[in-house]
């Protein structure tokens, strides 16, 4: 199982391409699908390579993508570590 997992909010994506470019593991690519505004959201092409580093989430100007570490991750991070809810 991959260390991390990407979640994409398809309807908020504006296809800027930052996540695709700056993913260190090249997990993502822009898909040829459209969301309702006509943008191509990214999709995961190499899910097994995702480390859950969340750089995609840090770069996204539209808060449309983020990565989380998987619960059975070897580094032993907790599954409910959501980081800073108010």
């Amino acid at each position: 199982m991959a260390k991390g997992r990407v979640s994409i909010v398809v309807e908020h994506c504006k296809s800027c391409g930052f996540c695709v470019e700056f993913c260190p593991s090249h997990v993502l690519a822009l898909s040829s699908a459209f969301n309702s505004k006509g943008y191509h959201p990214p999709h995961v092409v190499h899910p097994e390579k995702c480390s859950g580093c969340d750089l995609c989430g840090m770069y996204c100007p539209d808060f449309a993508i983020f990565a989380t570490k998987n619960p059975n991750d070897k580094a032993g991070l907790k599954a409910d570590d959501k980081g800073g809810k108010k």
């Binding site: 979640s7 930052f18 770069y59 996204c60 808060f63 800073g84 809810k85």
Partner: protein, 299 residues
């Protein structure tokens, strides 16, 4: 049209860590594809998480412009004020309630052109404000006019034949005016930006963080510099981290090197402390410290 697999989070109970800081009922926001403002907000939200700041005592003040819209998207006590006047509004907020942590989040035109006078005086006075200046080198919201930060020979809607004015070096300006914390990053430097914002929260006094950001719709397009992604790649390639660099050396040009880093981190008493100290010295025990809880404004 396409049948590519879209990985939509339907089963995973995880949520975006920055979601609690956003007015999700107002998403998607109005910023263009490839605009970097959203990225800066992302970094800002992560700084709030990391610095464990008490959100109940945080207020955010913005001016007018694309960056000015940040106030409307963050789930904080937020004030979208008039063009150029976020800093004096924030000053009033801070002086009336010194327990507040007040962030000013605005653009280069708003802060350095119409707001320039207030910028230098607040820095001079060392008012305890954390100013995040998103610098996209243009007046974006109104359609791409020249800003004091627009680099030389750029094409804008009010300089259709190319600009010819020297542009402001904002870190140099605010350092000279008296800021105690001055940093510059680009929207490529997401982690460093978060860290700078967290550092500014620990600082008392006037902190100024400039973030260079793409405006693909206007600045980059009119100057044939590609889109947002091309600009991010340019930031990655041409940025040079020089912490402590003399600010007179960090001026920007259209396609040249971008010096980033923490340039100034010094200590001097903030306005509030100086004011109280002066009154205590002059008035002795006649000085009555302001405490809003004692004066019942409300019944």
């Amino acid at each position: 049209m396409s049948d590519s697999l879209i990985d939509i989070d339907t089963n995973n109970s995880a949520s975006n860590p920055v979601e609690p800081f956003l007015r999700t009922d107002r998403m998607p926001h109005i910023w263009c594809p490839g605009c970097g403002i959203g990225t800066t907000v992302n970094s800002f939200a992560r700084a709030l998480i990391d610095s464990k700041i008490d959100l109940g005592s945080l207020a955010l003040v913005s001016g007018i412009g694309c960056t000015g819209r940040v106030a409307g998207y963050v789930k904080l006590d937020s004030f979208h004020t008039t063009h150029g006047r976020a800093i004096p509004f924030a000053t009033g907020l801070k002086l009336a309630n010194p327990k507040l942590n007040v962030v000013v989040y605005s653009g280069d035109g708003d802060l350095s052109a119409i707001g320039g006078n207030h910028l230098i005086h607040a820095a001079r006075r060392n008012i305890d404000l954390k100013v995040i200046c998103v610098n996209n080198l243009i007046y974006a919201m109104t359609g791409g006019q020249t800003a004091p930060t627009t680099p030389d020979h750029s094409t804008t809607s009010t300089n259709p034949y190319g600009t010819f004015e020297p542009s402001f070096n904002l870190p140099h300006l605010v350092e000279a005016a008296g800021a105690v914390y001055v940093a510059r990053w680009t929207t490529f430097h997401v982690r460093q930006l978060s860290r700078s914002i967290s550092e500014a929260f620990q600082k008392k006094g006037f902190s100024f963080i400039e973030v260079i950001s793409p405006c693909p719709t206007l600045y980059q397009r009119r100057n044939k510099l590609g889109d947002g992604l091309d600009t991010m790649k340019y930031y990655k390639e041409k940025s040079k981290v020089r912490n402590g660099a003399p600010t007179n050396e960090v001026g920007l040009s259209m396609t040249g090197e971008i010096i980033v880093g923490k340039f100034v981190d010094r200590d001097r008493p903030d306005y509030g402390s100086m004011m109280r100290a002066q009154f205590a010295e002059s008035l002795g025990d006649k000085f009555v410290e302001q405490d809003e809880k004692e004066v019942p404004v409300c019944s």
